[in-house]
């Protein structure tokens, strides 16, 4: 049974080379972004402020909030990229972050080489990648283009390649920053079905998105964030109602 428990997790970002004092006062009045404060002459952004949450097996959580409310930071903390400066996180199950589909795609390398590198980053072994290779190749419908450098691909083709590799694993706790948008009309039907299957396999989904429609389609709970704090955690309808008031 997968679960994530966050216990008063805080994240501060130091901003160096930012010493304009008058500017700082201006920033404090703005509604977007975390709270700025000064600590030993360094300006610090409080990106997450004592977040306590618990996600259980089967939860489909949508993260909503304004720009800079801390959605992406929270995802990166869950993905273990930022180690929190306060509080702790308890995991049951393994994390599969899909924050950027194009991760590690090198434009000068061939499609196959990119599949290899990305596969290793996903934690697969050479053997496992070779087994999946045929399936990935078929799914991308790229054929002989897989032997050509990625820079010769159209942007749609690049996305197909990245998408096919990124979704070839079976995720446990899936973290996504914005839903993946896939290519041309012919491919989209195929890809949608694949994506839905990919997401369904996961035991927990945490998805940050600005699209209300996407959240309503995939999620059964929302976390409303504002200035690095959790404003609301609960049902989707109630969350959106409060989001509109903010």
């Amino acid at each position: 049974m997968a679960a994530i428990q966050l216990d008063s997790v805080s994240v501060d970002f130091p901003i160096y080379n930012f010493s304009a004092r008058s500017l700082r006062k201006q920033f404090l009045r703005l509604t977007t972004g975390g709270a700025l404060y000064s600590q030993e002459n360094i300006v610090v952004v409080k990106a997450l402020d004592s977040i306590t949450l618990k996600f259980n097996h089967g939860d489909r959580v949508g993260l909503i909030g304004h720009n800079g409310a801390g959605k992406s930071t929270l995802l990166r903390v869950l993905a273990k990229i930022y180690e929190p400066i306060q509080g702790h996180i308890h995991y049951e199950g393994s994390i599969s972050p899909l924050l950027n589909v194009m991760l590690g795609i090198n434009h000068e390398s061939t499609g196959y080489e990119n599949i290899m590198i990305r596969g290793l980053f996903l934690g697969l072994t050479h053997r496992q990648i070779r087994i999946k290779l045929k399936q990935i190749a078929e799914f991308t419908e790229l054929g002989d283009y897989l032997f050509a450098p990625v820079r010769t691909y159209s942007s749609g083709m690049q996305l197909r390649l990245a998408f096919a590799v990124a979704t070839c694993i079976k995720p446990d706790i899936l973290l996504m920053d914005e839903m993946v948008e896939v290519g041309d009309a012919a491919f989209i039907k195929n890809a949608q079905a694949h994506l839905n299957k990919f997401i369904d396999q996961s035991s927990i989904l945490v998805l940050a998105s600005h699209s209300n429609a996407t959240i309503q389609r995939f999620c059964n709970k929302v976390v409303l964030m504002e200035k690095g704090r959790v404003k609301y955690f609960g049902s989707v309808e109630e969350g959106f109602k409060r989001y509109e008031i903010v």
Partner: protein
């Protein structure tokens, strides 16, 4: 606050203020996490080896000669510089050429380790911010890349061996140990420079300009024997001169001096200690500084 109470907090009974002041990572687990990072990084050798190989290959991807350009440009440098400086120093070319070639080959490896070390994490930003990997894999990647380039360069030495009849012997095998020692030093010092370079962006520029100075202070194009007695300390206290001896002597068929080996042992142990402390202390800050 009312909103939150309706949510998970009240039912789980977790107070928002609970142990806020206690740091997440205790002193001793910091060191354990650092060891884990290096251990996991070594286990992921496939990733860093592949990335290092890709880095080397990509630089020359669309050229016909490919990575052989590395060899070729080193050959041009060594062969022309040897002719010029050999005449300037009025040295026997058959002695000067092997001396200069081994010096420049070694220096190209050391200087690339120094200059690229500070930007290791800066260049890996896209990986570090998207997926959790041991930070050490990026250090291994860069050091391995520099060694791959070195193994391309070393081909330049072969014609010199044949043409000037360099006496290779049993002592030459020591070069493998020398390279292993340099690899270890490359790793430990790159960790320090990489962390400093991530926090203070000026470090990269600073190292590049210092490397120029070190080039002239180290016996690469000049032999230590041309220095007057009262300036010999320039060689004696220069750690780069010791590394130069460590790699050059075996290639020319003799062993490095006991002094050089002693000096390098101290430098290596110091590097190990400092890099471990720095890495343990600041490892978790790396993504915050990017």
């Amino acid at each position: 606050m009312d909103d939150i109470k309706e949510g998970i907090f009240s039912e789980r009974g977790i107070s928002l203020d609970s142990d806020c002041s206690v740091p997440v990572i205790s002193f001793d687990s910091k060191y354990r996490l650092a060891v884990t990072d290096v251990y996991e990084g070594l286990k992921e050798w496939r990733i860093w080896f592949l990335l290092a190989w890709q880095d080397t290959k990509l630089r020359y991807r669309r050229s016909t000669l490919g990575p052989l350009w590395i060899t070729l440009s080193m050959a041009v440098t060594i062969y022309t510089m040897g002719l010029l400086y050999g005449r300037l120093f009025k040295m026997d070319l058959s002695l000067y050429y092997p001396f200069l070639a081994t010096g420049l080959l070694t220096w190209s490896l050391i200087s690339s380790l120094l200059t690229e070390g500070a930007s290791i994490f800066l260049e890996a930003e896209q990986f570090i911010k998207q997926v959790k990997q041991p930070y050490s894999i990026f250090v291994f990647r860069m050091v391995t890349k520099c060694f791959i380039v070195f193994f391309h360069n070393i081909l330049v030495f072969i014609p010199i061996i044949l043409f000037f009849n360099v006496k290779l012997n049993f002592h030459t095998l020591f070069i493998f140990l020398s390279l292993a020692i340099l690899w270890i030093n490359g790793i430990v010092y790159s960790v320090i420079f990489a962390i400093l370079g991530t926090r203070f962006r000026d470090i990269v520029q600073l190292i590049i300009s210092l490397v120029q100075v070190v080039f002239f202070l180290t016996p690469i194009i000049w032999s230590p024997s041309v220095l007057p007695e009262r300036y010999q300390y320039i060689v004696k206290i220069n750690p780069f001169a010791q590394f130069m001896e460590l790699l050059r002597n075996p290639l020319l068929g003799s062993l490095p001096s006991a002094y050089a080996i002693f000096f390098i042992t101290i430098v290596t142990l110091l590097g190990f200690f400092v890099s471990f402390v720095v890495f343990a202390r600041y490892r978790a800050r790396i993504p915050y500084w990017l």
